[in-house]
């Protein structure tokens, strides 16, 4: 197999004083691949995601990304404006709580449209058209385009957050517990949407979750984290069906069958 990984993370570490967030994490992510990061509360998975995604500054490590224009760049060594541009265009971050990833004070359409404007789109009609197109893709009725997100249900807000994030055509999407806090039927719909979009758009994604069913469905590969370290890694179905580490075996055997 040839080609470069889209993202190469090496030696990533972050501590909060004496408390370890994550230690010495490294992995490659290839174009079109979805990587799941699982672990229980306190495992370091969210710290890891925030460090890679640019929300937190790690203590050590490299996050080398294959940018479109400039080749391989360590995003941790980028200037602030450069990194912010990256986070607005090529990257996207879907927060667990949609309110953290939406502007509640503007309409649904504006939430989607302003991302386009931030990267230079100027034609109002086309921006509104793109917003309508994306609302349809995430199954939000067109007549809601001028409503504020506060009027939406949790599942709808999450779908709006996804539309807002994907409208700029990013290549890499970070998701933090994308179905956390949602009703089961709503989760199923959201997962179906994410699955379809990832395949259709050829996205790469890193999805952090404690829910093994989510990774089984969405992720090609899996990292299992415990106490800040990656303790097991491999193909999703292999890690879940043939777990080697004691902790992984415990996690897998703890899931109730319905």
């Amino acid at each position: 197999m040839t080609g470069m990984p889209l993202l190469r993370v090496a030696g990533l570490s972050k501590s909060y004083g004496r408390r370890v967030g994550c230690t010495d994490v490294g992995f490659d992510l290839w174009p079109g691949e979805v990587l799941g990061v699982v672990g229980e509360s306190g495992s370091g998975k969210t710290t890891l995601l925030n460090c890679i995604g640019g929300n937190l500054a790690p203590d050590a490590g490299k996050v080398v990304y294959d940018t479109r224009a400039d080749g391989l760049r360590d995003t941790l060594a980028m200037s602030e404006p450069e990194r912010r541009m990256l986070m607005r265009t090529d990257w996207a971050f879907v927060h667990q709580n949609p309110r953290d990833g939406l502007r509640m004070a503007v309409s649904a359409g504006a939430n989607v449209g302003e991302r386009l404007m931030a990267v230079g789109a100027r034609h109002y009609g086309r921006i509104r058209g793109a917003a309508l197109d994306w609302l349809e893709r995430v199954e939000i009725a067109a007549e809601r385009i001028d409503d504020r997100p506060a009027a939406f249900s949790g599942g709808m807000q999450q779908r709006l957050q996804i539309a807002r994030n994907l409208v700029t055509g990013p290549r890499l999407v970070f998701m933090d517990e994308p179905t956390g806090g949602l009703d089961v039927s709503v989760q199923a719909r959201l997962l179906d949407l994410i699955r379809g979009l990832v395949r259709e758009l050829g996205l790469s994604a890193i999805i952090v979750t404690h829910d093994l069913a989510v990774v089984r469905l969405l992720a090609d590969r899996l990292l299992v984290m415990k106490d800040g370290r990656v303790i097991e890694a491999g193909l999703t179905d292999q890690v879940l069906d043939d777990p080697q580490q004691a902790y992984t075996q415990l996690l897998v055997s703890s899931v109730l069958q319905v």
Binding site: M1, W30, A188, R199, L217, D220, R221, L235, Q238, L250
Partner: protein, 230 residues
């Protein structure tokens, strides 16, 4: 097309006092294009285990497992993913149902994954579903509510949607009636005629006789001290 040499497998139950379950020792077999090899052996002798190792679903810590030139036991995850997309199909015993995905999409998915146009992929899916007697009114529904036999037929349709050069079949005719069993047998025979290398687990002797060119008794790979344990 498929080569297995010196493959050993045991499972260690870390949270149950480190109990070790040895399953296979020195497993070996090879399958040429157009051949169908049946894995036989008592329940628990390791037939499904071996099949899952060939698919890369179970780790193979020692030995060699080559499919179409790719060493599955040592390959990078993405090489195995590519192998599963393009080269090696697996029809398991049970359909893993994803909520909300209609039967038509379930069957079309392997074609879409290798880049076939949606219209062509759906046409192929419809043809297979028709052949396997899944009524059209069910095509738009999720297989969640289908009977066991119907789910299995959707599973089989999906397994034959993309023309894989190598196929692993785990009890493909279980839970099927006479007519549908015949359809599946024909599907397998057609695949053989196309040069597909097939490994199958068939408990039904008549099915085995009809499809298998050779049989490999997996209990011959029982770890030392465990022969005849079943």
């Amino acid at each position: 097309m498929i080569e297995v040499e010196g493959v050993t497998k045991s499972f260690t139950l870390q949270n149950q006092g480190g109990a070790v379950l040895p399953v296979l020792a020195g497993a070996a077999l090879s399958v040429a294009p157009g051949e169908c090899v049946a894995l036989t052996g008592a329940s628990g002798s390791g037939k499904s285990t071996l099949m899952r190792m060939i698919y890369g679903n179970y780790l193979a810590p020692s030995g060699v497992i080559r499919v179409g030139g790719v060493d599955v036991s040592r390959a990078e995850p993405r090489a195995i993913l590519q192998l599963r997309r393009e080269t090696l199909g697996y029809v398991s015993q049970f359909l893993r149902v994803v909520p909300r995905v209609p039967a038509l999409d379930v069957v079309a998915e392997p074609c879409l994954t290798v880049g076939m146009e949606r219209a062509a992929a759906e046409a192929r899916a419809r043809a297979l579903l028709t052949r396997l007697c899944i009524p059209e009114r069910l095509w738009g529904l999720s297989p969640l509510t289908f009977s066991g036999g119907e789910q299995q037929r959707v599973n089989i349709a999906r397994g034959f949607a993309h023309p894989y050069p190598a196929l692993l079949l785990d009890e493909p005719t279980a839970s099927l009636d006479e007519a549908n069993r015949e359809t599946v047998l024909r599907l397998v025979e057609e695949a053989k005629a196309r040069g597909v290398a097939i490994i199958g687990i068939f408990h039904d002797r008549a099915v085995r006789t009809r499809l298998a060119d050779r049989e490999v008794d997996v209990s011959g790979f029982a770890p030392p001290g465990f022969e005849g344990a079943a």
